[in-house]
């Protein structure tokens, strides 16, 4: 089957998780993505986990997950020779995604911009290409710290806390993919080459799950849910085999939860009928609710609550997520044969074009470092002697 992004050529430049995530969105939907990486292999190939905990630049979990279906060109962009190759590669492409340290990023973007039939570009960086912090190096943790998320993601008596490792870079990558595909569409239709810039701090701080807008629109007052023990059942509750989360403090969810636990009479019970009468009767509710939970597994609670359309989910670990009935029925996870590693389970399509059984999305194996040097340089018109010269000089690897 022809994939939707076939015919789109993307040059992905850099070694980070964010740019790899961005390139993956294009590659899995059929674009031809060349990953231009440093000859020694950069961050994405050095990040654990590795099979059997043995480091190997072609076997890292992030690399195998995010470089699917790409071709790899190992090229030193710190040299004029490397940039000349890049300029030829970028000619006629639709998009270049660039995540490099600031000074090199500037040179590489200039090279791409000067290419014949130059592509649109997206430059990914922690703070943007300009401004007093443009030269700062950051990582997942420090970017997160700037964006109000860490400030908010904490318990009162504990330090501020990040999300899982590298979740930040993934979101930055998706932001680059969204702006990048917008630029590609635009250029294909109006011929205007666009240069986008995704600064990680801005990409996160400008998105919806921060406290900034609530704070600013409220005139600088801390905006926290006015929830207390008076609003229930809300939050995480233990049951027979783990925990479930539910949000059923407000109408109509409270009423639905009462029906789900077989106590419809609570709906008209004077203790629970109004917002005012509920707070002092939290313990009385729990005295019925908790034993009901204790007798049931997460799955039983989940399905009973959902039968009444209560917002309720089980808390699963990733192995349980894979085995969930919905995941299995939908094929939410796929198996990819990764050379040197074997069958590996990856998350499947982020969306399905054309519904069930669509073949619009496909995750191919991740390339070895420099696996496609020869075929790419051949196609760009470099002779065998020229390729040996580049290799001898350490420009390719």
């Amino acid at each position: 089957m022809t994939q939707p992004l076939e015919g789109i050529r993307v040059v992905e430049v850099g070694d980070g998780v964010a740019v790899a995530c961005a390139g993956k969105q294009f590659a899995d939907f059929g674009a031809e993505v060349v990953k231009v990486e440093r000859p020694g292999g950069g961050e994405i190939r050095r990040l654990p986990p590795f099979p059997d905990d043995r480091p190997h630049r072609d076997r890292g979990g992030f690399h195998l997950s995010l470089d699917t279906g790409k071709r790899s060109l190992a090229l030193d962009l710190g040299t004029p020779s490397g940039r000349e190759v890049l300029g030829r590669l970028a000619a006629g492409a639709q998009l270049a995604l660039v995540e490099l340290a600031p000074e090199l990023a500037g040179r590489v973007l200039a090279t791409v911009g000067d290419a014949i039939e130059a592509p649109s570009t997206v430059a990914l960086s922690p703070h943007g290409l300009g401004g007093p912090y443009a030269g700062r190096r950051e990582n997942d943790l420090s970017i997160f710290a700037w964006t109000t998320r860490m400030h908010r993601h904490r318990l009162e008596d504990e330090p501020p806390l990040r999300y899982a490792p590298h979740v930040v870079a993934m979101q930055v990558g998706l932001t680059a993919a969204a702006s990048g595909i917008g630029a590609v569409w635009g250029q294909l239709h109006d011929g205007i080459r666009r240069d986008a810039e995704v600064a990680a701090v801005e990409a996160l701080a400008g998105n919806v799950d921060t406290s900034f807008v609530a704070w600013s629109l409220s005139g600088g007052a801390p905006s926290v849910p006015r929830r207390s023990r008076g609003t229930y059942p809300v939050g995480t509750y233990g049951c027979k085999d783990g925990f479930v989360q539910l949000t059923a403090g407000d109408s109509p969810f409270f009423e639905r939860a009462c029906r789900a636990i077989g106590r419809p009479e609570f709906i008209d019970d004077a203790r629970f009928r109004t917002k005012e009468s509920r707070p002092p009767n939290h313990e009385a509710f729990l005295a019925v609710f908790q034993p009901w939970l204790d007798e049931r597994t997460r799955d039983e609670v989940f399905h009973s609550m959902q039968a009444e359309r209560v917002l309720c989910t089980p808390i699963l670990d990733v192995s349980e997520a894979l085995r969930g009935a919905q995941s299995v029925a939908r094929g939410s996870y796929v198996t990819v044969d990764q050379p040197g590693v074997g069958a590996m389970t990856l998350a499947g399509p982020p969306f399905r074009l054309g519904g069930v059984g669509s073949e619009a999305w496909r995750a191919g194996p991740a390339p070895r470092l420099g696996e496609h040097n020869g075929e790419i340089l051949d196609a760009l018109g470099y002779s065998a002697d020229e390729q040996q010269a580049l290799f001898r000089a350490g420009v390719t690897g």
Partner: protein, 414 residues
């Protein structure tokens, strides 16, 4: 005028709360003509009637017009409010669909069908129309029609289980709405990918975007740990198993914190110099090497805690960064508003709105040249563009007056 990359693309957004509406705004930022169709007389959870509701910011007029939760995800679109359960409302909506490229809904699976808009009929009526549906659990499968919210998706993918404090139980993990930030980005990608496919085939299509599956793509490290090594990842909090130091430390000031990390020897050297202890990074010192730092992580943390406690987080970050190291203050909204970087880049726009007055907003997710994104339309009022849009779709004023008088369209709730 905002970017023109998606100029000429018309999108109907039938979404509530955050994931869908934010995606609509991002499409609007890129130049799509986005029409937000709100339900009527039923109102969205982000449009509370009660001025005491915690989501309502100070302002004039009805509470639902100055809820920050509504303002957070609704720029650059034109709002209508239509009762789709009424035949005249459904008829108006069909006219909108006939001239649209894309319709996006975030209902649970089956809701559109109950409203009379099953895909087969939509496709027959408007063969080039693309429908992107974002039900939490997807359009098919045994959980079809189950209800959900952002925090719940986080629970079922495995993220909640690993993002809490290492020393606390999973039950002490704060709920987050991470998917409300990632799904809109994927929605933009899905819309353009579908438009591209339509160019090839000439036909519209149904796109099934399960928010659970979307979020599952965002945690590859957690999945890889299991699938490569059969291990469930541990809760590591602010640390990294293979990087020391890498943590959040209490700084001087009232509940102020700073993050410090050194991913390699060079960054460690920078941190050591900033802390006034260059000897920590000199050959022979037990902390000078990657392995030495891992082995003595606790002693290192104690030393850095002492350093951090001596100054405000911004001063520490400036000093460490000046040496080439890695550090950042844990910023709340106020500290973010004072960021020299965001201010130098003119990132915070001031947006005027009839009911809140001018307010400082969070800026755009990306910059674009030559056609930069701009905030052309602030958060729309209920039914603000009913008349304009119905006229665009062939209704005359008398017909519009009648729809209004009959309560098929509206411009207020409650």
């Amino acid at each position: 005028m905002t970017s023109r990359a998606l100029a000429g693309v018309r999108v109907i957004e039938l979404c509530e709360v955050w994931a869908g509406p934010v995606g609509g705004s991002l499409l609007g930022d890129l130049g799509a003509d986005v029409i937000k169709v709100e339900s009527y007389p039923r109102f969205s959870p982000t449009r509370p009637l009660d001025p005491a509701d915690w989501r309502v910011a100070p302002g004039e007029g009805p509470a639902y017009e100055h809820s920050w939760a509504q303002h957070q995800g609704n720029r650059n679109k034109r709002n209508m409010a239509i009762d789709l359960r009424r035949e005249e409302g459904a008829a108006a909506f069909r006219r909108l669909l006939a001239r649209a490229d894309v319709v996006v809904d975030s209902f649970s699976a089956g809701t559109m069908e109950k409203l009379g808009f099953d895909w087969e009929r939509m496709h027959a009526d408007a063969p080039r129309l693309i429908r992107v549906s974002l039900p939490g659990w997807g359009l098919f499968g045994p959980y079809q029609g189950y209800v959900a919210f952002g925090g719940g998706f986080d629970c079922v993918t495995g993220h909640t289980a690993v993002r809490g404090y290492p020393w606390r139980g999973v039950e002490d993990t704060s709920p987050i709405t991470h998917s409300d930030a990632t799904v809109p980005l994927t929605l933009v990608f899905a819309v353009v990918t579908a438009l591209r496919e339509r160019e090839r085939t000439g036909e519209g299509m149904l796109v099934d975007l399960s928010q659970v599956e979307e979020l599952a793509t965002q945690i590859p490290g957690i999945l890889a740990e299991w699938t490569l090594n059969g291990r469930l990842p541990a809760r590591v909090g602010n640390t990294e198993q293979h990087v020391a130091p890498h943590d959040c430390y209490r700084a001087a000031g009232d509940d102020r914190w700073v993050v410090l990390a050194a991913e390699d020897d060079a960054q460690w050297g920078a941190l050591a110099r900033a802390a006034g202890h260059p000897e920590w990074a000199e050959d022979g010192h037990p902390w000078a090497s990657v392995v030495g730092r891992l082995r003595e992580r606790e002693a290192l943390d104690r030393a850095l805690a002492t350093y951090a406690a001596g100054a405000e987080p911004e001063a520490i970050a400036d000093a460490v960064q000046a040496e080439g190291g890695l550090a950042a203050p844990v910023a709340g909204p106020q500290e973010m508003l004072l960021s020299p970087q965001l201010n130098a880049r003119g990132w915070f726009p001031t947006v005027d709105h009839p009911y809140t007055g001018p307010r400082i907003q969070a800026g755009f997710l990306w910059r674009f040249a030559p056609d930069a994104p701009s905030w052309d339309l602030p958060c729309g009022l209920v039914g603000e563009y009913n008349r304009e849009l119905l006229r665009e779709h062939g209704y005359d004023d008398r017909e519009i007056d009648r729809l209004e008088a009959d309560g098929v369209i509206g411009s207020s709730y409650g």
